[in-house]
């Protein structure tokens, strides 16, 4: 498995690295496959910054398909080249299943700079026996650096697979606080508990009391657990909402099995984004990806 991950990462790296950088990758990969000391591992992760910059990957559709074939349901479109190189260096290790790796991996966090920290967290979903690193991922969620937090919260299946309810709810709530694009919290579709719904509704009411707008992503986090409060919130929010927010409310209500309320609110609308959201709602097309479009005209575009 890790072999095929490293191979896939290599096919992404190869066309993007200059000759000397590619040579660095190949030599390092061979070293790592053979086994390296803790110090050497750390040095290779650090030295990667001399060979790759933080340039966006701009993955092609074929490459996205190749990543999908790994069966990890990770979204690497938000990674940069330096992160890709570093994650490649991690997965190239020959002892990913061993204690030796778990110890070395954890040690990296102690000395990691900002870019390395992000790369280390990005690697989590691609490591075997991911449950070994749950505490570490929780530490990452406690960070004050939004970009570090985002590498754990967004585009990765790690949290939904490994976090307990407390940690999961905290991750969703913090994403909301930071106005991250919630549709990129993978697994949120199927993990909206009663507790989470209550926390989100409480949060929405706090925002209202403070006279602050409700982020579109909030509607993604509600489950069908408190229809009275959810409907009431939708009714209150509708009047002041713009068209993108209307669409989010419609989809959010539908996610809570409140299509009827959505229809009622949107009945008179001639706004195309509302009518198409209603249509999607009626067809049950309300999962994360349908919120992606709504973020363009909303504060949560990029936190």
């Amino acid at each position: 498995m890790s072999q095929s991950i490293t191979n896939t990462l290599e096919t992404l790296l190869a066309p993007r690295l200059a000759d000397t950088a590619l040579a660095f990758w190949q030599k390092s990969r061979d070293e790592l496959t053979a086994g390296v000391s803790t110090h050497r591992f750390a040095a290779l992760i650090a030295l990667a910054s001399r060979h790759a910059k933080r340039t966006p990957l701009e993955l092609s559709p074929e490459e996205i398909d190749a990543i999908a074939e790994l069966g990890v349901s990770i979204d690497m479109r938000g990674w940069n080249l330096l992160e890709l190189l570093r994650v490649g260096l991690i997965t190239a290790r020959c002892d990913l299943n061993e204690v030796s790796f778990a110890e070395d991996f954890e040690a990296q966090f102690v000395y990691a700079d900002e870019g390395e920290t992000c790369a280390l967290y990005r690697a989590l979903a691609l490591l075997p026996a991911g449950e070994r690193f749950v505490w570490r991922a929780g530490e990452g969620c406690r960070t004050n650096m939004n970009n570090v937090f985002a590498t754990i919260a967004l585009d990765t299946p790690y949290p939904v697979q490994h976090f307990d309810d407390t940690a999961w709810n905290q991750l969703v709530m913090k994403s909301l606080f930071l106005e991250l694009p919630l549709w990129r919290v993978l697994g949120l579709d199927n993990r909206r508990s009663q507790d989470l719904t209550r926390m989100v509704l409480d949060f929405a009411e706090e925002r209202e009391s403070a006279g602050r707008a409700i982020n579109n992503g909030l509607w993604l986090c509600l489950g069908p657990h408190d229809n009275e409060r959810t409907s009431a919130l939708a009714l209150r929010a509708w009047a002041a909402a713009n068209s993108g927010q209307h669409a989010a409310i419609v989809l959010g209500l539908a996610r809570c099995n409140l299509v009827a309320v959505a229809e009622q609110l949107g009945a008179d609308s001639i706004d195309t984004s509302v009518t198409s959201a209603l249509q999607a709602a009626q067809n049950g097309q309300t999962d994360n990806i349908h919120f992606a479009q709504l973020t363009a005209d909303n504060s949560e575009t990029q936190a």
Binding site: P56, G78, Y111, A112, E114, T117, C118, M145, N147, Q302
Partner: protein, 298 residues
Amino acid sequence: MRFFDPHIHMVSRTTDDYQNMAAAGIRAVIEPAFWMGQPRTNVGSFVDYFATLVGWERFRASQFGIAHYCTIGVNSKEANNEGLAREALELLPHFALKEGVVAIGEIGYDEITPAEEWVYQHQLQFAVDHDMVVMVHSPHRDKKNGIIRSIDVAREIGVPMEKLVIDHNNEETVQAVLDAGAWAAFTIYPNTKMGSERMVEIVRQYGPDRLIVDSSADWGVSDPLSVPKTAHLMQERGIEQSAIELTCWQNAIDAYAQSGQIDVDELMRDPVIDQSQSFSDNSVLRGQQPRIDEPVQN
């Protein structure tokens, strides 16, 4: 005008400072590793400090559209705690090779003791081994002698003079540093030591080549706007624009970009708040205006 403050201890400064600095045109800073104002008692304290320099403080600066680089080193004061200094030196390989670490520093002499000498030499050797720039802190007492000695020792160990920056110079020391071929940096302190007025005269007398202006603002009485203020005074006093640009921006870049750790092209671009750099869909830089009114969220 845009400015580079290549010596400032931001861990001791507030977000008000960051806002004012950004508003005054400061686009990039270098934060040298130094002491905390009181002695550290264990090596873990160094670990967390160095980690802050390459992590949290860099992030904090980015929230204000300011590029943050740092130097890593064991300072001369704490070199005198020999056991601790040795342990701290073992951290060098862990931190000094990180992205955005532009030099070994600030290192050098304080009281010019044998313990300081040993720690200084050890770090010079590390810099030579890793082809790095060196930022030298010159002592407050016996300054001239200390500076000459730090240059001689660095040369002996093989530090190329163009990779050596001697900081905290004054009228008495500048000639020796320039003659050696090193970079001469000046700390502009309000009230004491070097003031902006004296700096203007030094630039007039020596010309702008290899002179660098910085604030060294820290936890003491100091001014994080020293660089822009000095630049404006130079302007008022008729110093050529090109000389101001060199001493308050370009020379620092030329000196420290030798580390390969400053992306000069990116620095030349308009400042952006880089909050989305590592998780944006398709772009690292989005060209937005600095949101210096936005607090750091947590």
